[in-house]
């Protein structure tokens, strides 16, 4: 960016004096910010090698020193200027030119211009303990909300102190209060709320506040994850959400990777709500490359209409941001998945360039979260180096399925045994959740709507935050344990999310009838019907039909007899009856169907029997 207005005011601008000014024109000038107060200026190459460089870094763009808070003219023999004592948060304007002579003498070419803003540490509010009075940062944009949080912290602290006191640990409770200047503590603080500068942790959510309306200013936090940078592929991600639109209609934020420790260099993924879009061409998802505070929007797959994120980004919804990165010598390929919608971008290095903005950013183990507009909330973040086969197998995007992705509940032999709880899904990766979270594990024991089914599996569909830890099926019902694997309330069965058991029912297709025609149409019909429940084949129906026809088409006889006391006869016995006066000659067989035995001053027996013809 050039600041043409400088010489209209003052600044001592002079035209280039070199015979061929272009030979001394700097291809670029770069500023590498190394801390909130330090920066290194690097001059780009020229056609003719210069003997020295001169220039000015100033907080005012007039380069004259007028009204400047910090004004630094310089000459330098090699074009690498180290600046210290810079003012954090201050924007500096830079101009620099090449000379043919040493010490800024001789002929010279045109100025190269640059501007940069020093990062400012955002913990100006100081580390604040939450177990006594709470100081909220003066920089917050939501004083009322902060006050509520302070009250909450006070309440929680009081309750905790009471708890400890009740447990005879009063000294600990007292000692835990008021340490407002303590550095990072190795002891638990006993509260789910803490605040420092532009950031706070509340109810296991990391909240990052950006007080500036200037869209070039970002609130950012960084952390060294200590992941290996020797890999070629990486996965990064976060759970991000924005508050209700009634609170902050403009919202945006995201994550960065391969960053430096102060967030002025790195790749950044920014998500902003639809209502935050500047115009119809603006995108909800943007992928940036930032080098020394210079931002470059990487072209991505959203350029076509089909590549745009449908539905956009709204408030009050958690977005699962997963980023796959592949690094080669010439290209860094970035695949961004936002709730499983894919956007791809690539950063291609310019061969032979020394311009840092046109070179690839080398992997670092730093990770950043930032808020571009108002408040951005983070549920979790992760960074995982990947083996090549992990992406080839298409599983990289599945690497983070929550803290309990590998957890199971084993039902096999009755005692339900939970295993792999709290085991990270990747041994080499880094995962952070922002507080101790109690997640609901729902036990569901249900019967299916129809009495018999062939269940296949239980599923939460596309809802990857709900994890089925264990399930047990019968053909009549199911017992399922499903865990909230996110850090917030999530829909299990609501809106587009479903929790169900998939399978097939055993269905009755209708009733069949088996019969055969009577021998003669003149035969007197004696109908009999048999309604079966479990005969399910014609062969079985025919077998029963045949038996009924053979056994019962003849005249049936049932006999009842009181017999001489017989304690040994049983149902199912075969008997013959010889009673000539009743047309029974002892050859007819009967089946005993009922036996009644009485003992009362002797044994008496009565039986019922049916004729057998088959």
């Amino acid at each position: 960016m050039r600041y043409w207005e400088w010489y209209m005011i003052n600044g001592g601008y002079t035209e280039p004096t070199a015979p061929v000014p272009a030979n001394y024109n700097l291809q670029f000038v770069s500023v590498i910010v190394t801390s909130p107060t330090e920066a290194t200026i690097v001059a780009g190459p020229t056609t003719t090698t210069p003997a020295s460089y001169s220039g000015t870094a100033s907080t005012e763009p007039n380069f004259s020193g007028f009204s400047a808070i910090d004004h630094r003219p310089f000459t330098d023999p090699d074009g690498i200027i180290f600046l210290t004592g810079l003012i954090p948060g201050m924007k500096y304007y830079l101009r620099m030119r090449a000379h043919s002579g040493t010490g800024g003498t001789g002929t010279y070419g045109e100025y190269a211009y640059e501007a940069f803003t020093m990062p400012k540490a955002a913990n100006v509010g100081g580390v604040t303990s939450t177990t006594s009075s709470t100081t909220t940062p003066s920089t917050t944009t939501a004083e009322t909300d902060a006050l509520d949080r302070a009250k909450l912290a006070k309440i929680l602290a009081d309750e905790y102190a009471a708890l400890l006191a009740a447990q005879g640990n009063l000294s600990n409770a007292l000692g835990d209060s008021g340490d407002s200047t303590s550095a990072m503590s190795t002891l638990p603080t006993g509260s789910s709320y803490a605040v420092s500068g532009n950031r706070e942790v509340n109810r296991s959510v990391f909240i990052l506040s950006n007080k500036y309306k200037d869209r070039e200013k970002y609130a950012l936090v960084t952390k060294n994850t200590n992941i290996s940078t020797a890999y070629k592929k990486y996965a990064f991600g976060a759970g991000i959400f924005f508050e209700s639109s009634t609170i902050n209609p403009l919202s945006g934020g995201g994550i960065g990777f391969f960053t430096n420790s102060i967030g002025t260099t790195g790749y950044f993924i920014e998500i902003q709500t639809d209502s935050s879009n500047k115009d119809t061409k603006d995108k909800s998802i943007k992928i940036y490359k930032v080098v020394n505070g210079k931002k470059k929007l990487l072209p991505d797959s959203q350029d076509g209409e089909n590549g745009k994120l449908y539905g956009g980004v709204i408030h009050s919804t958690q977005y699962k941001l997963d980023v796959n990165v592949e690094v080669t010598t010439s290209t860094t390929v970035i695949d961004v998945y936002i709730n499983n919608f894919k956007i791809s971008a690539a950063d291609v290095a310019t061969p032979g360039t020394t311009n840092p903005l046109e070179q690839l950013i080398a992997p670092t183990s730093n990770f950043a979260m930032f808020s571009a507009l108002n408040i951005t909330k983070f549920d979790y973040v992760y960074a995982i180096p990947l083996e090549t086969n992990q992406t080839n197998d298409g599983i990289s995007r599945s690497l983070y399925s929550g803290q309990y992705a590998a957890s199971t509940i084993n039902f096999l032999y009755g005692e339900k045994v939970a295993s792999n709880f709290n085991a990270p899904s990747s041994k080499v990766g880094w995962l952070e959740e922002f507080g101790t979270v109690a997640r609901e594990l729902r036990k569901v024991k249900v019967n299916f709507a129809l009495p018999a089914a062939l269940p296949l599996y239980a599923s939460t569909g596309v809802n990857r935050y709900a994890s089925i830890l264990g399930s047990r099926f019968s053909n009549h019902g199911a017992e399922i344990y499903v865990l909230n694997n996110a850090g917030t309330f999530i829909p299990l069965q609501a809106e587009a999310h479903n929790f169900f058991v998939e399978g097939t029912y055993v269905s009755e297709n209708g009733q069949h009838e088996y019969t055969e025609t009577t021998p003669s149409e003149y035969t007197m019909l004696e109908p009999a019907t048999f309604q079966s429940m479990w005969i399910q084949s014609e062969a079985d129906a025919k077998s029963l039909f045949t038996w009924i026809k053979n056994q019962w088409s003849k005249q049936q006889q049932s006999i009842n007899m009181d017999i001489f006391g017989n304690p040994a006869i049983e149902v199912g016995d075969i008997i013959t009856v010889n009673y000539p006066k009743n047309n029974l000659d002892g050859t007819q067989k009967f089946l005993v169907t009922n036996v009644n035995t009485q003992f009362q001053e002797g044994v008496s027996t009565s039986i019922t029997a049916r004729s057998i013809y088959s």
């Binding site: 929790f499 399910q536 006869i569």
Partner: protein
């Protein structure tokens, strides 16, 4: 037919004078008469990768299963354990099933369970009673399908009562005949000592408060124990006036089809107890057992006998030799007392057990109906059954799918199966549930068991006292209605067979440190972790459930709410249901409401075998670990 000796049968057929008597025996299972019994025996333990010890078989082979009511009468049901399954595979769907025992894969839903020792280890189980029991008979039953221990010892009150070898354990078969009481060891008290020999008459019971059994281990095997039950049996004949036994294959003998509704055999007994202080009384579990009493209680075992005196009888009394013919095994159902001590007792046969047992969830694909019956009865641990079919029996249907219904009892399911195949199911005298296929039972070629006549035939005397014959309707136009069932075998055509009600899974931030010492009755202090601050009043959807914190699972059983009562005082209450909620709404000031306090009452720490830990709420540590900046990207 009861297996009468030829002489006894001849006596019935040919003697002009036959002497018969009766006897009645009651038997009480102490495990059913007393509550709060404790059973101790080692559970098989395993250690997971984190060093946590757990007992994976505890719910499959629970030691307290051995005192449950209605244990199998004999061994023959085995649950598969890796390394303890015979080679070879026997298709369980087949019509007939020859092996001595049947193997099933175990599951938590399995209704019937038994106990096993650890591998290579013998049984060592002790039952301790909260009050004195009376016993003169102790039954132990081993699951022989795992192994048969070489030795066993039974103790009472810590002292050895009897010991023996495997020869005293009833084997699966004797001379090729199935023993329905396989695996059983029974010891009797004869008045002075305990032995495996049953005394001629029951001895007075002894008082015990604990019973223990040990056995030797079997190399490479488990030892299974089905039952250990001290019993008290007594002769109630002197109180017997009369009895009436009704056995039937179907409720109506005159329907067109012979099998309609299968019914239980029943026993009606008339008893007297005229003592000034009545000797025969209804039992209540609060009673102290008194050996001078005869108790009546549901599920008591009743055995009526008829003595048939004959010259070859196996037993002898003052009237001579006799055979004691068991008329069945019945279980007490109802009884009534008259003002003078006349007692009317009704009992049912083993069908009563099946009528009172809900069918477990079963689903059989392409099982023959005999296989279904086996599966159904085995699933509830009912082993005393026999399926009688012909060698080639086309009456055995094979439904493509059969399933039980959890609203029906086992007996209901059997009735449906028997009716559809016209199979008869009836308990025989020895308490074995006999299934007769229609082809078997209506086979006219079967040997005649009894002949009845109105007049003498040779030496056989007439034995019909009265006779009545009914002509039943016949049928020549038969229609059989049957159902076809189907399902899809393709995953692609699967559908939702169950769908959850609307539900949100909660996640709550831990507000305060939760110490490992905070146990049941304590609270977890949580705040909802939500996307919108407007949702901060949320609580978990359920009043009871599980929470996962770190590597621990915590079961909670109430959610604490607060309200302002009619006196204007803030109150805290633990709600366990929506009903509680409505109750306290009425106690709140007008227009007041219940609000969650954020506390959840702990029921179990370390649930589902997880490790109890201290959980910290350490927000400050987290925030301190990040470096914050305000940066400008242009």
């Amino acid at each position: 037919m009861y297996p009468l000796e030829p002489v006894a049968k001849t006596t019935l057929e040919q003697n002009t004078s036959v002497s018969m008597g009766s006897s009645l025996r009651f038997e009480y299972n102490m495990n059913s008469m007393i509550d709060n019994i404790t059973v101790s025996g080692a559970d098989i333990t395993k250690t997971d990768s984190s060093g946590q010890t757990y007992t994976p078989f505890k719910k499959l082979f629970p030691v307290d299963s051995i005192i449950k009511p209605f244990r199998p009468q004999g061994a023959g049901l085995k649950y598969a354990i890796s390394g303890d399954v015979d080679s070879g595979w026997k298709n369980p769907r087949s019509i007939d099933y020859i092996p001595n025992f049947r193997i099933y894969y175990p599951g938590v839903d399995t209704t019937y369970k038994y106990y096993i020792s650890a591998l290579n280890t013998g049984i060592d189980v002790t039952i301790t009673y909260p009050k004195t029991i009376l016993t003169n008979k102790i039954v132990a039953r081993f699951e022989l399908s795992h192994s048969t221990p070489a030795t066993w010892t039974i103790f009472g009150n810590g002292s050895q009562l009897a010991t023996g070898s495997s020869s005293a354990i009833v084997p699966f078969t004797t001379n090729g005949n199935k023993n329905y009481d396989a695996g059983t060891v029974t010891i009797y008290y004869n008045g002075t000592s305990w032995s495996t020999t049953e005394p001629a008459t029951p001895a007075a019971p002894v008082s015990l408060t604990s019973v223990k059994i040990t056995s030797s281990g079997v190399s490479g095997k488990y030892v299974g124990l089905i039952e250990l039950s001290p019993k008290w049996y007594l002769d109630a004949t002197e109180h017997l006036v009369s009895f009436d036994i009704s056995k039937e294959s179907s409720t109506s003998s005159e329907d067109l089809m012979p099998v309609g509704k299968v019914s239980a055999n029943s026993l009606s007994v008339s008893l007297i107890s005229y003592e000034a202080t009545r000797k025969m009384i209804s039992y209540d579990k609060t009673f102290t057992l008194d050996p001078s009493k005869i108790y009546l209680y549901k599920q008591m075992e009743i055995k009526p006998f008829i003595k048939l005196y004959n010259s070859s009888g196996s037993l002898t009394d003052s009237m001579g030799k006799y055979d004691n013919i068991l008329q069945g095994v019945f279980y007490g159902d109802t009884w009534s007392f008259s003002e003078h001590g006349d007692i009317s007792l009704t009992a049912l046969d083993g069908a009563k057990i099946l009528q009172e047992t809900m069918a477990p969830p079963l689903f059989c694909e392409n099982y023959s109906i005999t296989a279904i019956i086996r599966r159904l009865l085995d699933s509830v641990g009912f082993t005393n059954y026999k399926i009688n079919i012909k060698t080639s029996d086309d009456s055995i249907i094979t439904p493509r799918y059969w399933w039980s219904d959890n609203t029906k009892t086992v007996w209901d399911c059997l009735q449906e199966l028997c009716r559809d195949t016209q199979m008869t199911a009836v308990f025989s005298y020895n308490n074995v549930l006999q299934f007769y296929s229609r082809n078997w039972i209506f086979d006219a070629t079967r040997t005649t068991n009894w002949s009845f006549r109105s007049e003498s035939s040779g030496s056989d005397l007439p034995n019909i006292l009265s006779f009545n014959k009914n002509d039943l309707p016949s049928a020549n136009q038969v229609k059989v209605f049957w159902n076809s069932v189907s399902t899809s075998n393709y995953v692609q055509s699967a559908q939702d067979i169950w769908k959850s009600d609307p539900y949100f899974l909660g996640a709550m931030a831990l507000n305060n440190d939760l110490l490992s010492t905070t146990g049941p009755g304590g609270y977890i202090n949580l705040s909802p972790s939500v996307v919108n601050p407007e949702e901060l009043g949320l609580t978990l959807y359920n009043y009871a459930g599980y929470l996962v914190i770190g590597s621990e699972i915590i079961e909670y059983d109430a959610v604490q709410f607060e309200y302002v009562d009619l006196n204007g005082t803030k109150q805290f209450v633990d709600l366990t249901s929506k009903t509680d909620n409505n109750k306290y709404l009425g106690l709140a000031i007008q227009g007041g409401a219940l609000a969650p306090s954020g506390k959840y009452r702990i029921k179990t720490r370390g649930a589902l075998n997880t490790k109890i830990e201290t959980h910290y709420a350490a927000a400050q540590n987290i925030i301190d670990s990040w470096s914050g900046y305000e940066v400008t990207w242009v």
